[in-house]
Structures are given as structure tokens and as C-alpha cells.
């Protein structure tokens, strides 16, 4: 027979454990998910009145985002190519890989600040965030699944039916609900807490080099990489020489925005990407052809190819490109570093595990 105090201690330990566990659980459950407008950002483009972000809707969207059942052979999820610690890009891949290791057409763009976008993807073909998910799900070289099959797989899972009920009031799993839940998750991916953001709000300072970089940036880059989003959301040809790619099994070139509008004036135009979180999103450009930011800056300095749709800003005062000397580049790179948002890529609400 063991002494009574040992028994008591055991009980106490057990009790403490239980208490700790339940405290944990409570903590996780009690943080309600809310979409918050950063004070220094413009109003969002997304119509939240149509699809307000709720805790249950977000949780469902998050599960869907990381669920491999969205792909034909249950092998890849949205998160496979949009990795949160890489600011939701496919780290290290120039063109992202889809199912069966097939190459896709372009570099996976970040799922970031999409609430302020009106069109989605490098060519802006998808005009509503909700609609976006169907594209990677059904693309043969991405997830190669039928949306109807995805919904069938989810309907067969009681836990999903419960989550749809929690999010939308009934167990019914419809196209619209599925897409809205995924949109809710994506909308929560807001990056607005870099050092530069804090500097704008008067909560942080920039070094002299970073300030010099900011000055050069405003002078030479901010026309296109505009405002706090660091993109004016327009489509531009930045003078990258077109490369041969495979489209639907055929040898072709990626014509960018032209694929959507069929306007010759849109040939080789791609959406101006944000410059936030570049530390995590290499390689760069729509086809990930540059591994470093140095290469990117050198492209603007000396690599811009003239063509009929080249952006007018890249052919001023009788030369193509943007002249940048080594001192300017160093300052620019220092400034760009201030746009990295560690709290965004480490946000536990957004991460898979």
C-alpha cells in the first residue's frame, strides 16, 4: 500500500494536467476570428457583407485550404504550393508543381492581402476571390480534380458536414458555401505589420540607408508598386523576354493578360506583384526566373527587352529600363527588407499545424 500523500500528489498532478489541457482548449476556442481593417490601409475591395468572416467559416476554410482531398489523388492541397512560412508561395520553385509533379504555367503568387484585389492571378482572369479556387482544383497540371468530386468527398465526411453546419447553418455542402469558406480563410491572410508599416504608424524608425532606399523607391518604383499594397493592381509588361512554355501540352509562350482579354495591347502583361515579404517568396517574377532580388534589380537596370507593349515607364528619356547604380541598389534592397512581415508568415491562425 502506497502512502496516502503519494496518492494525493498523483491526484493533484492529474488534476493539474486536466486543468492545463482544458485551459489550452479554451484558449484556442475562445479567440474569435475577425477580419480587421489595418488603420493605414485603404478600404478593402472584397464585399464582406456578402460573405462575412466568421470563426466557424474561417476554420472550415482553413481545413479546406490544407486538405489534400481537393486534388484528384488526394496528394496535394492549396497549402502545398501556397506555404504560409513562404508567405503562401511555393518556396524555391520557379514554376510551381502540381499533381504527378507536373509543372504549372507560372510561379505561385502569394495568398496575401487579397481583400484589396479586384482580380486574381498573374493575368487577373478571375474576377472574384470566391471563384478562384475552382481554377487550381480543375487545372490538369495543378490538382486535376472535378469540383463536383471534391464536394462528394466532403459530403461523405461527417465532420465536414458538421463544420458546414457551424459555418452556414445547415449540413448542406454546396459550391457557393465551399468557395465562400475558402475565401474566408484567404481573406484573413493580411500582411500589414512589417517594420515599414510600423514606421508609417510612427511606431518604428528606418535607418539612414533604409530611408535612402525609400527615397529611391518612391522616385523609381512606386508608380507601379504603389501604396501600402506595393502594387497598383494593374497589368504591365516589364520587359522580360518571353520564354517558351507548355500550355495544354503544346509548345507555346505565356502571353499573360492577353490570354484573358485577347487584346493585342495586353500581350505579355502580368499583374504588378506586391513587394511585401520578398524575403520569403523567392524566386521572383511570373515565371520565377530570378532567384535573387539582385537579379531583379539588374533586370530593371540592364535587362529590359523592348517590345510593342513594354510599359511606357520603362522607356523614358530615350532608354529602356530604370537606371540603378550599385549604391542605389544597396539602398533599395535595404528598404525592401523593411517590408518583410515576420508576424504574417508565423501567424498561428494561418499555419497548417
Amino acid at each position: 500500500m502506497k502512502p496516502a500523500y503519494i496518492k494525493q500528489t498523483r491526484h493533484l498532478l492529474l488534476y493539474l494536467c486536466l486543468l492545463a489541457c482544458s485551459a489550452c482548449q479554451q484558449q484556442v476556442e475562445e479567440v474569435p476570428i475577425q477580419w480587421q481593417q489595418p488603420a493605414h490601409f485603404p478600404p478593402p475591395a472584397y464585399d464582406f457583407s456578402r460573405n462575412p468572416v466568421t470563426t466557424a467559416g474561417f476554420k472550415l476554410g482553413k481545413r479546406l485550404f490544407y486538405d489534400t482531398r481537393l486534388s484528384r489523388d488526394n496528394s496535394i492541397s492549396c497549402g502545398s504550393c501556397h506555404i504560409p512560412t513562404s508567405a503562401f508561395t511555393h518556396h524555391g520553385h520557379d514554376l510551381s508543381h502540381g499533381i504527378d509533379d507536373q509543372l504549372t504555367l507560372r510561379n505561385a503568387p502569394p495568398v496575401m492581402n487579397l481583400a484589396w484585389h479586384k482580380e486574381f492571378g498573374w493575368d487577373g482572369g478571375v474576377f472574384q476571390l470566391d471563384l478562384f479556387a475552382i481554377s487550381p482544383i480543375e487545372a490538369h497540371n495543378e490538382m486535376d480534380e472535378k469540383l463536383s468530386n471534391v464536394l462528394e468527398k466532403l459530403r461523405a465526411d461527417a465532420s465536414y458536414r458538421q463544420m458546414f453546419k457551424a459555418a452556414f447553418g445547415s449540413e448542406e455542402i454546396t459550391t457557393a458555401r465551399f468557395l465562400m469558406a475558402l475565401a474566408q480563410f484567404q481573406l484573413m491572410a493580411v500582411s500589414a505589420n512589417s517594420r515599414y508599416d510600423r514606421y508609417l504608424q510612427g511606431r518604428d524608425t528606418l535607418s539612414l540607408l533604409e530611408q535612402e532606399g525609400l527615397r529611391i523607391f518612391q522616385q523609381k518604383c512606386a508608380d507601379c508598386h504603389a501604396g501600402v499594397l506595393f502594387t497598383d493592381l494593374s497589368y504591365r509588361n516589364n520587359g522580360l523576354a518571353p520564354r517558351r512554355v507548355r500550355i495544354e501540352g503544346a509548345d507555346s509562350v505565356d502571353t499573360g493578360r492577353y490570354r484573358i482579354t485577347l487584346q493585342p495591347s495586353d500581350l505579355y502583361k502580368f499583374k504588378v506583384p506586391s513587394l511585401r515579404n520578398l524575403r520569403y517568396t523567392a524566386p521572383y517574377m511570373h515565371d520565377g526566373r530570378f532567384r535573387t532580388l539582385n537579379e531583379v534589380l539588374e533586370h530593371y537596370n540592364s535587362g529590359v527587352q523592348p517590345s510593342p507593349t513594354l510599359d511606357p515607364r520603362l522607356q523614358q528619356s530615350g532608354r529602356v529600363g530604370i537606371p540603378l547604380n550599385e549604391t542605389e541598389k544597396e539602398a533599395l534592397l535595404a528598404f525592401l527588407e523593411t517590408l518583410n512581415d515576420e508576424s504574417f508568415v508565423r501567424d498561428p491562425r494561418l499555419s497548417e499545424f
Binding site: F127, E138, L147, S148, T174, R177, I260, T261, L262, Q263
Partner: protein, 264 residues
């Protein structure tokens, strides 16, 4: 003066009574139905999948393996020029010549009257093409009936999908594929393959409660190839979202002609 006033009241009363009588004497005006049937042909032969046909104009032969299309925005035009438009959520239809349930449109609750024409769209209008998914009818659900009739990367419906094989096709497997769509572009103008078709009845067709006329349309697939543009499989074995698609849309509009009307 007072007498005159009373008299005029009396006349007015009499007149309105007259009008009422006239109405009462007419046939009871109850909503009716109208059926619209789509019969598919290749020239004079019945359309069928996996059967070889020859286009006499081009000499090309082709074996269809798939044909599906959307028709929508039906409006019925009355003798007096007034129109009845079907309720928006019930005004989109997928037609599939291999599925018996998808070759017929039943217009319910059609106001009684004499109708002389119908007008409809081949395709899906831009308004519905860009609506919230939650507000679209089931026939346009990309995970439902509209599966395989939807472009997700450039969201919009494939209005007409026509596939098959032809010895004249240079594609691997001798396939031809026509996926025609495009509602005009979301914010930048792009191709528009929406085509409107008006079918005159040539007579007034009575719609009334117990009277369900049936409209038989012939859809001649040859006209897909032979129209204002002569589409040759050898030259264009695959046409999807590109500017040539609008010429095909001009052609497919002419596929629909009235054969006859069953007056019930």
C-alpha cells in the same frame, strides 16, 4: 344641369358595364404552358454521336463525340408586341442531344394569349456569368450540370461544346474540339459569343390553360460549319477562347430554325 350630370353618370355606368361584359364573354384567360423541343440533325440525317457524317459543302467528314450547349433568356412575343420573359432563375437550359431529358424546355405559367415569336440567347448572358455563385441557378453550378461547360481560369461558361474526330484534323487522334464561349469580358472588352435568335411562328399560337402548344425547332449541326464563315476542320481543328470563336458563334446562331408547331 343636375339632370345632365345624372345622365352622364348613367351613360358612364352603362359604358363600363359594356366593357365588363365584353371581358366576361371572352374565353377564360388562364396561364398555360408551352413546350420547346430541340431536334438535332446533320443536314437531313438525324444527329447521333459516334456516327460519321459528311459536310457536302467542304467534303469533310466528321464523327461527333460530344455536343452540348446552353440556351437562355427566353422571351415570348405576343401578337400585340408585348413580351413575356421567363423568370430569371428558370431561364437557363443545358441542351444535350444524347440526353432525352435535356432536349425539351417546358415553359410553365405562361400568361394566356396569342404568341407570334420567341427569342432566346445561345449562351449565358454577361450578368449571370458574373453573378455570385450563390445566386446562380443549379443548371449553371460549376460542380453540377455546368461541369465541363465552365472555364475556371477565365471564369465563364462554355456556350457550345462540340467535339469529335475527323480524318481532316491534323491534331493527334484526329480530334476536333470547339469550345465556344466568352460573354464580352469582365472589365476589359473581350470576345463576345452570345448570340440572340428570334424564331417567328408565322401564325399566332394560342396559349391558354388547357392548351399546350409544342414548338419543334430543328438544330442543323451542318450550319455550325457552313455559315457566313466556312469552318473547315482541316484549318481549325481546335477553337477555344480565341477571336475566331466569334465567327463560329455567328454560324451556330443559324442552326436553330422552326420546323413545325403542334397546336396541342
Amino acid at each position: 344641369m343636375k339632370k345632365l350630370f345624372i345622365l352622364s353618370l348613367f351613360i358612364l355606368a352603362a359604358l363600363s358595364a359594356c366593357q365588363k361584359n365584353e371581358k366576361d364573354e371572352a374565353v377564360p384567360q388562364t396561364n398555360g404552358k408551352l413546350e420547346i423541343k430541340f431536334d438535332h440533325f446533320v443536314g437531313t440525317e438525324r444527329f447521333a454521336l459516334n456516327q460519321s457524317f459528311t459536310n457536302p459543302s467542304s467534303g469533310e467528314s466528321f464523327t461527333p463525340t460530344l455536343l452540348k450547349y446552353f440556351v437562355s433568356n427566353f422571351r415570348l412575343i405576343k401578337e400585340d408586341g408585348s413580351e413575356y420573359v421567363l423568370p430569371a432563375e428558370q431561364n437557363y437550359f443545358l441542351i444535350d442531344p444524347t440526353d432525352n431529358s435535356l432536349q425539351k424546355i417546358q415553359v410553365e405559367n405562361l400568361p394566356a394569349g396569342k404568341y407570334t415569336a420567341i427569342e432566346f440567347i445561345i449562351g449565358v448572358d454577361s450578368l449571370m456569368s458574373t453573378k455570385d455563385v450563390s445566386e446562380r441557378p443549379p443548371v449553371l453550378d460549376p460542380a453540377g450540370q455546368a461541369q465541363d461547360m465552365y472555364w475556371s481560369w477565365n471564369p465563364g461558361y462554355i456556350f457550345v461544346k462540340f467535339e469529335g474526330t475527323s480524318p481532316q484534323s491534323s491534331e493527334s487522334g484526329n480530334v476536333f474540339k470547339y469550345h465556344i464561349g466568352g460573354y464580352g469580358g469582365y472589365d476589359t472588352p473581350s470576345i463576345n459569343c452570345i448570340r440572340s435568335r428570334r424564331i417567328e411562328f408565322g401564325e399566332a399560337v394560342m396559349v391558354n390553360g388547357d392548351h399546350t402548344p409544342s414548338l419543334h425547332l430543328i438544330v442543323d449541326v451542318l450550319k455550325f460549319f457552313n455559315g457566313s464563315t466556312s469552318l473547315k476542320i482541316a484549318e481549325h481543328p481546335v477553337v477555344m477562347f480565341n477571336s475566331f470563336a466569334t465567327a463560329i458563334a455567328d454560324n451556330y446562331k443559324e442552326m436553330f430554325v422552326l420546323d413545325h408547331i403542334h397546336e396541342d
